[in-house]
């Protein structure tokens, strides 16, 4: 509506307070959201890279990658289950790595895997690794030889991959034998025999129902395994769900505050404008047209504050040293935050609808 926008342009200062509040709330929302996404993505990369639909753990492991053990025999049982197209071994070792010319060791997650999955290519040669690009922040370059664990097992970085981390530790993707070697040297008590993995990434055959296949696998192994879909496996990474629910509660509260700010501001503005709106009604405006202008103003202010807030957060994020904070601002987060704020601003404005409807055109006289 032209009138509403004209007022915003002519009298921007009158909206400065609510605009600033919404700007701050946007910054808070995006910061929290970016932190949540950063934590989530940094914790789950290894699992999200899986093309497979199902993950098979040993049943005593409570679907923990670290505790789980799948031996050769179990693997053969799984592979024989109808509806299983492929079952690839997957293993993990959380190890400290010495980086050449750096004093601080890097926390890494060594991932042993068998075939290309997600955006990760087939395993490199024995003794070498694809490194997650986040290791750049630790001073790692391609060609560096890292010294893994207390026994300083050498591991050469031969290329970068993206988004391959686990529990906030930088991913080093290697072939199964290399992984087994590093695992044995860093934790002799948990060394695994050849052929044994921690979990199996199970690709379901075309047309088969993943839930049924999962149940069939666990039945075929006589209850020795517990097979879940990738999403459930992500949810059982320690802390992931708790983290998300804590952050989402704070995000929800922030949205609530934004709604209250918009509601209060426009309720007061409407009160202050009883006379002006009376004049509008006296010269032929309907309540609907007046409310549309209130709504337009609240949405425009919200959108403008949001854009400024987003720019601010993007700029501030450039100032965060890489690797210092697991902050990651995803386009989807920006869009969903904007959508939620617009919804909340709409709901906040609706508070003023009743008052607008009740304004008497006779209040224009006198």
């Amino acid at each position: 509506m032209r009138l509403a926008v004209l007022e915003l342009r002519r009298k921007p200062l009158r909206f400065a307070v609510v605009g600033t509040a919404l700007w701050l709330l946007t910054v808070l929302l995006l910061f929290l959201g970016g932190l949540l996404d950063g934590l989530y993505l940094g914790s789950t990369g290894v699992l999200r890279q899986q093309d497979a639909q199902l993950l098979t753990f040993s049943s005593d492991s409570r679907t923990s990658l670290i505790r789980s053990r799948i031996d050769v025999e179990t693997r053969q049982q799984v592979e024989a289950v109808p509806g299983v197209a492929d079952a690839d071994g997957l293993g993990l070792a959380l190890v400290g790595a010495r980086v050449p010319d750096e004093t601080e060791p890097a926390n890494t997650a060594v991932v042993g895997y068998e075939t290309a999955t997600g955006s990760v290519p087939d395993p490199p040669a024995a003794g070498t690794a694809w490194a997650d690009r986040s290791l750049e922040a630790n001073g790692v370059s391609v060609g560096d030889v890292l010294e893994m664990g207390p026994q300083q097992v050498p591991l050469e970085v031969v290329g970068w991959i993206e988004d391959g981390n686990y529990l906030g530790q930088s991913g080093l993707w290697v072939d199964p034998a290399t992984w087994r070697g590093i695992l044995a040297s860093s934790r002799p008590d948990s060394s695994l025999p050849e052929g044994t993995f921690q979990t199996l990434a199970v690709t379901v055959a075309d047309g088969a129902d993943p839930d049924e296949v999962a149940a069939a696998i666990d039945a075929a192994t006589g209850g020795l395994t517990r097979t879940v879909d990738v999403e459930a496996a992500i949810g059982s990474i320690p802390g992931i769900d708790e983290q998300a629910s804590t952050f989402n509660q704070i995000i929800g509260t922030t949205l609530l505050v934004a709604g209250v700010v918009v509601a209060l501001f426009f309720a007061l503005l409407t009160l202050e404008r009883t006379r002006l709106y009376g004049v509008f009604k006296a010269i032929g405006a309907s309540s609907r047209q007046i409310f549309a202008s209130v709504l337009t103003q609240s949405l425009v202010i919200t959108a403008v504050s949001f854009v400024l807030g987003t720019l601010f957060v993007e700029l501030a994020a450039l100032g965060i040293p890489p690797g210092a904070v697991p902050f990651q601002l995803e386009p989807a987060r920006i869009l969903s935050s904007l959508a939620l704020l617009l919804v909340v601003a709409t709901l906040g404005s609706v508070i003023s609808l009743r008052r607008v409807t009740r304004i008497d055109p006779a209040s224009a006289i006198g």
Binding site: L3, I283, G284, I365
Partner: protein, 223 residues
């Protein structure tokens, strides 16, 4: 057909325990293209009568016909349409939109009635030209003199091409000379458009601009 008919209109204001009879069995007919002056002392019910004729207030009793239509029976929505399309109102307190310039103050009317933009703009500029404000179109109300604001309000009342214009005290804030100029402008505009008008004034000297004068005292009309 008469532009405005009031039949035994009564308006009682209720303020707490008190009842104030602002209009008492007022009956009045304004012919098409007639200019009627309504004179009376302060508090006599002039603004009340005008507001009832313009669909801003509903009477306590009686019937109001504008252009032959009984607006007393209208729903809220019909009254909105009526105010939007059929009457022009100049308020005693002028009431321009402070953050809009003179031209935009006229265009607000067109925005509410969803009139075609270009035609509305041309009409607004022609009206302001005729009212001697051709050079002030881009000024905000705060940058205009009292007489200029009064004229902008008159332009706004004429924007929707009403059959009836209701003007409350157009000259009270102006000195005699300026007051006469504004009256001449109003009469010129109203006559040129074959519109009927009721002009409220408490200044007897202004009545000769009207076709007819009606006096009101304590809510009672006297021809």
């Amino acid at each position: 057909m008469s532009a405005l008919v009031l039949n035994n209109v009564r308006k009682v204001y209720q303020s707490g325990e008190d009842h104030i009879v602002a209009l008492d069995h007022a009956s009045l007919t304004v012919g098409a293209e007639e200019i009627l002056a309504l004179v009376g002392p302060s508090g006599s019910g002039k603004t009340t009568l005008l507001s009832i004729a313009g669909g801003l207030l509903s009477p306590s009793e009686g019937e109001v016909l504008v252009g032959g239509e009984a607006i007393t029976a209208y729903s809220a929505k019909q009254l909105t349409d009526f105010r939007r399309n059929s009457v022009g109102f100049v308020f005693q307190s002028v009431n321009l939109v402070p953050f809009l310039n003179a031209r935009e103050n006229l265009l607000v009317v067109a925005e509410f009635s969803k009139r075609e933009k270009k035609a509305a703009r041309e009409r607004a500029e022609r009206l302001l030209d005729e009212l001697g404000l051709g050079h002030r179109m881009n000024n905000l109300p705060g940058q205009l003199s009292g007489g200029e604001r009064q004229r902008v309000a008159i332009g706004r009342a004429l924007m929707n091409e009403p059959a009836l214009v209701l003007i409350d005290e157009p000259t009270s804030a102006l000195d005699t000379k300026l007051g006469e100029q504004v009256m001449e402008l109003i009469v010129g505009e109203v006559k040129a458009r074959n519109t009927a008008a009721v002009i409220v004034t408490h200044d007897q000297r202004m009545t000769h601009y009207a076709d007819r004068t009606v006096a009101i005292t304590d809510g009672v009309l006297a021809a």
